[in-house]
């Protein structure tokens, strides 16, 4: 992932997180505020209902009191107090009285508890009304909720009882009430989105038909069953929510208010429902606005992030590009310096660094070049001095032999010319070797069995391994069979192996073990040639493949350079590991297949000044 992408993502995530936090905060606190407002509204309605309830009770109290205080009722009480009074003449009085005083329930009960007149259940006239005798002071009793038995069933009544005396210690009970039903609910003034339901708890368990609203038609009444059953078990105010559909906007929150009877029995439950639609829609609107704002902020943030990250990362990218170019060897890479900030300073430092590196490289190259020429000169001087000295002696002998007799001179002459020839041949050989190195042939690839090539290379030196008077050298082969054939030039490969074996022989003047290993590696083969000589120092290892470098008195320093050249031409690499006093191991890795079987164009004159391939460099560094 690029720095720009990282920067972009970081900025975007930061913006997203910020916007999300802000949007969530706004939504959360707004919703909480709305819920609080809704709760206050519901509380107000509940409070209103309680006031209405109390007011209705007061109205009933006043009406019943008016009835009890009326002269008609007093006449009735006096008449009924007489012995053998005919109560039947008052049979219809409850009906007329209730109509006059706008009451739904009306009863007159005699002193002995016998029902004299009843609006709601005329057929009960003559029966006893037992509950009236359970209390003495009815005149100061507040209105109470009561089950009112009717011919068609049971109703709820907000009931008031008052008494009046007709003389002879006879009391007439005046019992009036108003029905607590859907009409009562419809009289409540409800704000929009709210409704009031009444459950008349007249039978055990949940009865859907006992639940009504102001319209009298309540669909899905059975959904209230858990609410009602819970309040039937624990009759105290509670709040429950009903999700009518999967849509949260259709949910309703119900405040349940138990309405208790005089004996603290649950007679009814008022449910004040508050629709969540307005709240949910408002919340959704806020969420949508928040999402839109967040989206816009993110879009703007994205554009800003792109611009900012591009602006910030462009110098860094230029730096990275410059570094890559430097890595590829372009030491003269320069980048534009913009500004004086840290990036600008970094760019300046980069330019300074590349300038310094280029200068140092140039100096290093010049030093290496000088060192190489010096080494070449030294080797040439060394190589050429050995044959020149005999040549000089021989020539001097010839000069001195001119004074000898002809015969002796002839003998000397013959000996001297022979020596001169030999030394000249030696010189020719030395020059030829240098010439050969400079003219390494281009490889001609063909299928080569590496194991076979190894065995052939070793076979050339077998007589030397067991030569009389020389220390014995043991050879050990650890060759993987079968080993895949590789694309290689068999002559160059043979020459490389030959140099390695010869190098190992030279490293073991006191004898030892030459070990050869071959194995299949990833996409090629790996060859190891190990000796048990005295080993090399790390400095020697680092310079081992430098042309004309040798640790031997008689070496030209070209053998391992040739090996490296062959391996390089085969697109392989060579490395060396050495432990002092334990021996040295050369490891060659060659690819199984060459990209093209034809040889790459060979450089006419491999110059030590030219930079070796990366693989060789890597091997040299080892």
């Amino acid at each position: 992932m690029t720095f720009r992408t990282k920067l972009l993502l970081t900025v975007l995530l930061t913006i997203l997180a910020s916007v999300s936090v802000v949007a969530y905060g706004v939504t959360y606190y707004t919703k909480a505020a709305f819920e609080e407002m809704d709760g206050e509204r519901t509380e107000a309605l509940v409070s209103q209902f309680k006031k209405e309830y109390a007011q209705r009770g007061e109205e009933v109290v006043q009406q019943v009191k008016n009835i009890a205080d009326s002269s008609v009722t007093l006449r009735m009480a006096i008449d009924l107090a007489r012995p053998n009074a005919d109560a039947s003449i008052y049979f219809n009085d409850a009906k007329g009285t209730a109509q006059d005083h706008n009451l739904d329930f009306m009863q007159f009960v005699g002193s002995d508890g016998t029902l004299v007149s009843s609006l709601q259940y005329p057929a009960r006239v003559g029966y006893k009304v037992d509950w009236l005798a359970q209390k003495k002071d009815w005149d100061n009793s507040p209105p109470f909720l009561k089950k009112e038995e009717l011919p068609e069933g049971v109703e709820l009544s907000l009931t008031v009882v008052r008494t009046l005396s007709g003389g002879n210690d006879k009391t007439l009970y005046v019992v009036g009430g108003r029905r607590l039903d859907q009409n009562f609910l419809s009289s409540l003034v409800l704000p929009s989105g709210m409704r009031a339901l009444l459950y008349r708890n007249l039978e055990p368990g949940f009865i859907p038909s006992a639940l009504t609203d102001a319209s009298g038609n309540l669909p899905q009444a059975d959904r209230f069953q858990p609410l009602i059953e819970q309040i039937q078990k624990q009759p105290h105010a509670m709040v429950r929510r009903i999700d009518w559909t999967m849509d949260a906007a259709d949910a309703e929150t119900f405040h349940e208010i138990p309405l208790m009877g005089p004996n603290n029995e649950l007679l009814a439950v008022l449910l004040v429902g508050s629709s969540q639609r307005e709240l949910v829609l408002l919340t959704r609107k806020i969420v949508r606005i928040s999402a839109a704002v967040a989206g816009a902020a993110l879009l703007i943030g994205l554009l800003m992030s792109l611009w900012i990250s591009a602006r910030i990362t462009k110098p860094v990218e230029e730096l990275a590009e410059g570094a890559r170019e430097v890595a590829t060897g372009r030491w003269d890479t320069r980048i534009d310096v913009r500004g004086t900030d840290e990036i600008g300073q970094l760019a300046t430092a980069f330019n300074d660094m590349t300038r310094t590196l280029a200068a140092q490289k140039e100096r290093l190259l010049q030093t290496e070049r000088v060192a190489a020429w010096r080494e070449l000169a030294r080797r040439l001087a060394h190589e050429l001095r050995n044959p020149l000295f005999p040549l000089q002696i021989t020539v001097e002998n010839l000069q001195r032999a001119r004074q000898l007799e002809a015969k002796q001179f002839l003998e000397v002459f013959h000996e001297s010319t022979a020596t001169l020839k030999a030394e000249l041949a030696n010189l020719n050989t030395i020059v030829g070797r240098f010439s050969d190195f400079s003219k390494m042939p281009a490889p001609q690839f063909s299928r080569v069995n590496v194991n076979e090539a190894l065995r052939n290379a070793v076979k050339l030196f077998e007589p030397q391994f067991t030569a009389v008077g020389k220390p014995t050298i043991t050879t050990e082969f650890f060759l993987t069979e079968p080993l895949p054939e590789i694309d290689a030039d068999p002559d160059l490969l043979h020459r490389a192996f030959q140099n390695l074996v010869l190098n190992a022989l030279d490293a073991m003047p006191a004898g030892g073990t030459l070990t050869l290993r071959s194995a299949e590696s990833k996409g090629g083969v790996r060859i190891e040639v190990s000796d048990t000589g005295k080993g090399l120092t790390p400095e020697e290892c680092s310079r081992l493949f430098t042309p004309y470098y040798t640790t031997k008195q008689q070496g030209t320093g070209l053998g391992l350079a040739i090996v490296q050249s062959v391996v390089s031409d085969h697109h392989g690499n060579i490395s060396v590991t050495s432990d002092e006093d334990r021996g040295t191991t050369f490891r060659i890795e060659l690819p199984q297949r060459q990209a093209q079987r034809s040889s790459p164009p060979a450089s006419d004159t491999p110059s030590p000044n030219t930079r070796p391939p990366l693989s060789t460099l890597a091997a040299a560094s080892d």
Binding site: A87, S88, F91, N92, Y121, P122, A123, V125, G126, P151
Partner: protein, 505 residues
């Protein structure tokens, strides 16, 4: 059998003093006021729609009586029964029967014409009565003679013909019936919707064979609520109203004239027919639970009387032999029976109140309360007008109302039985008289407890102060041809060219 007429005559013989006193009072009244012609009598009735066609009436229904009131203004019967139990000739001037009371021959009044101008004849009378006669009786005619042949003995033939729907009319075929009565129906506006009143206008029949009635016109408004009728009477907007029982006390407190008939309406229970012992005990338990005295004395404010028998005393003559007191020993035995308790605790029985009106509902509520007090779960079901007097469904009790309209007790009981679909449970006749047989039949019916009478209710009529000679029959039949209005607007002389009623009589 002693007919109702003979019983009434006997009663009068037993009380000559009262008859004499009544005659003196009548003479005194006549001496003070003479009838006047003219005026419009305004009548307000409870039933919404009236039909003067006797062929459409259903026996025992409250509307039967209202229809009969309307028809009595338009048509005449062959005979009539007066307050003293005497059969008076109407369209028949003579009658005779064979010793077996199966063949009755009536000689019709001559010179009588229907309101459409056609003359009364035996054939016309036969045509009118043929669709009205019960099964087993057929009519034939010859000239001005009408013969009725009954398959069984019909000693109460005259009582039957003097009541019920046995009116003589002429059906011209256009849907309008012409009669020979004191009035002619000139306008009928039937209510097409529930709750709306119907209006009927009747003009005096100047060519009535009995003479022109005193009233010029009778206007009937049918289908008004009880309180509205009473208010109209109080405000002088009505002269004759049907008074609801619950308003009788109020009317009397307000010094309104209230006329009361003999008990003519029976409220009763039709109990389920199950034959098992459990069902029988349940029927008995329900019957014994009924508190008829309170129903009549409290719920109906003493405007009704508890009914121990199906037929009222004035009709049967033996109703007082039945007791309304519950058999306490039998009741205690029933309440202690585990089987009854288990039955009562089971599925609730339905009490269907098919009778119209608040009164029936009130009685139904009380019946249910009485039953519940005895541990019987009786629940009131919805009203079903269409199944009036249909048999009770299994495990269903029905409260019915029956309006007596016949003056023949056996015929009335038979009609009631047929309507309630209660089988004839009369004991074998043997040598007993017909009255004893009737008594035994009704007693057996009551002992079976498939029918339980509750209360008997008279008919209450509210009258304005200026109506005179209001002399209806004690069983509720009106005689408006003799009534007149004592108001300044009416005249003491009949319209010219019109025979006066008193002259014709």
């Amino acid at each position: 059998m002693r007919s109702i007429a003979s019983r009434w005559r006997a009663g009068i013989k037993r009380a000559p003093f009262f008859g004499f006193a009544a005659a003196l009072c009548a003479c005194a009244a006549l001496a003070t006021k003479l009838p006047r012609y003219g005026g419009v009598l305004r009548i307000e009735l409870r039933e919404a729609a009236l039909s003067p066609d006797p062929r459409e009436w259903k026996p025992g229904t409250p509307e039967f009586a209202s229809n009969e009131k309307l028809a009595a203004l338009i048509f005449d019967r062959l005979v009539s029964l007066d307050e003293y139990g005497r059969f008076l000739p109407q369209l028949a001037v003579e009658w005779s029967h064979d010793p077996a009371f199966q063949r009755w021959v009536f000689k019709l009044r001559g010179g009588v014409t229907f309101s459409d101008g056609s003359a009364l004849s035996g054939a016309e009378a036969e045509a009118a009565l043929r669709p009205l006669l019960p099964a087993g009786m057929r009519a034939s005619s010859s000239g001005m003679t009408l013969t009725l042949q009954s398959a069984a003995a019909a000693p109460d033939m005259l009582e039957q013909l003097a009541s019920g729907r046995y009116f003589i009319f002429h059906d011209a075929g256009d849907g309008r019936l012409a009669g020979t009565g004191a009035f002619i129906l000139t306008e009928a506006s039937h209510s097409r919707t529930d709750g709306k009143p119907s209006f009927y206008t009747l003009q005096a029949n100047n060519s009535c064979w009995a003479g022109r009635p005193f009233l010029d016109r009778v206007e009937i408004t049918a289908g008004l609520p009880a309180l509205k009728r009473l208010l109209d009477l109080e405000l002088g907007q009505a002269d004759v109203i049907e008074l609801a029982p619950e308003l009788v006390r109020r009317a009397r407190q307000e010094d309104l004239r209230v006329w009361t008939s003999d008990p003519v309406t029976l409220f009763g229970l039709r109990l389920p027919d199950g034959d098992g012992a459990e069902q029988a005990r349940l029927r008995e338990a329900i019957s014994l639970s009924l508190d008829r005295v309170t129903m009549a004395g409290v719920l109906l404010q003493r405007q009704a009387q508890p009914a121990a028998a199906l037929l009222p005393e004035w009709l049967s003559g033996y109703a007082s032999l039945f007791s309304i007191e519950p058999d306490s020993e039998s009741e205690r035995e029933l309440r202690g029976t585990p089987k009854l308790s288990s039955a009562a605790a089971g599925e609730p029985m339905l009490l269907r109140v098919d009778a119209p009106g608040e009164l029936a509902k009130l009685l139904g509520d009380r019946v249910a309360l009485n039953a519940r007090q005895k541990g019987i779960n009786l629940q009131i079901a919805g009203k079903n007008q269409q199944t009036h007097l249909a048999p009770a469904a299994p495990a269903e009790v029905r409260l019915f109302v029956w309006r007596f309209t016949l003056l023949s007790a056996p015929a009335e009981l038979a009609e009631l039985q047929a309507s309630l679909r209660v089988g004839d449970s009369a004991e074998p006749g043997g040598a007993k008289g017909e009255l004893q047989q009737l008594y035994a039949k009704e007693r057996k019916l009551l002992e079976d407890r498939r029918v339980a009478p509750l209360v008997l209710l008279p008919e209450y009529i509210g009258l304005s102060a200026n109506i005179r000679d209001w002399m209806p029959a004690r069983w509720g039949a009106w005689r408006l041809a003799d009534a007149w209005l004592d108001t300044p607007a009416v005249s003491s002389a009949p319209p010219s060219e019109t025979p006066s009623r008193t002259q014709r009589e």
